[in-house]
Amino acid sequence: MRGQGLIDAFVTTAPALHDPLAATAAVRVSSTLRGVESDAELLERLRQGDEKAFVVLVGRYHGPMLRLARTLVANEAVAEEAVQETWSGVVRGIERFEGRSSVKTWLFRILVNRTRSALAQEYRSGASRDPGQALDPACFDERGSWVVPVEPWEDDAVDRLDASARSATISCSLEGLPTRQRAVVELRDIAGLSGDEVSDLLGISRGNQRVLLHRARNALRAALESEWAEAE
């Protein structure tokens, strides 16, 4: 297997890979590997031509970038190409990274720049639109109180869904979101960028970012709630 040497080289930093049962899983860049070194350290090693640092960064960000690319462009092949071009931009443009933003923001910025399409235009044209309200006004009565009381979840409600069911619910629900909401929540809650970073990246106002994020979170909340209700 062509990449096995690379994977073997990681064993010293990823004890979980010693597990023989994990042997087949070892060919994947596991979540253990994603968390070993800081982005800045990896970038420094990449600057020095360290191929292993590249593989770890790929393990950390290829998936989240592909998720976002799928939101920004309609076609899977184009999304994959955009992510590949992003990595090319990283490897070949690394000397131009000045560290004024985080590595993560830099990566997503390159990706967004590579997906400047009709859809990306839509994000920018939304910048001056009235952001609207975080929730449908029909949720509230004339005094601004909830029409339907909010039933509290039990403390461990979400935890009782196993992790894969939870991830599947979130992923499935993300796919059903309007594109602008999906892009914002992917960048904020999954990729972990700040509100200001996301506003700048997508060219939307702070208010718009806030409203889109809340609507998306509310949709995911509702999806978890119904999944949890079904699991009861």
Partner: protein
């Protein structure tokens, strides 16, 4: 309880929640929201659900890459390195 001018209603409380979770609310708005949350079981339940949702979304793991995909990217990496840096 009569509504004071500095009090907010549920609909306004919901509008403040994103910035509250980001720690970006002004002191005045934070106090108004927290006072509302103490008095409103609906909004405090809703905020707890949003918090749990954010946590669940943050735990979503990206799909693991196949070895072939990693190999392809490593091949490309070597090619890009050989080509040298982009023209600025």
């Amino acid at each position: 309880m009569p509504l004071r001018s500095k009090d907010i209603v549920c609909q306004q409380a919901v509008e403040l929640m994103v910035e509250y979770l980001d720690g970006k609310l002004s002191r005045r708005d934070r106090r108004r929201l927290e006072r509302h949350l103490r008095a409103c079981p609906n909004c405090s339940a809703y905020l707890a659900q949003i918090r749990a949702t954010v946590e669940a979304a943050g735990a979503v793991e990206p799909d693991d890459l196949s070895q072939d995909a990693i190999d392809d990217l490593v091949d490309l990496y070597r090619k890009w390195r050989a080509e040298g840096p982009d023209e600025p």
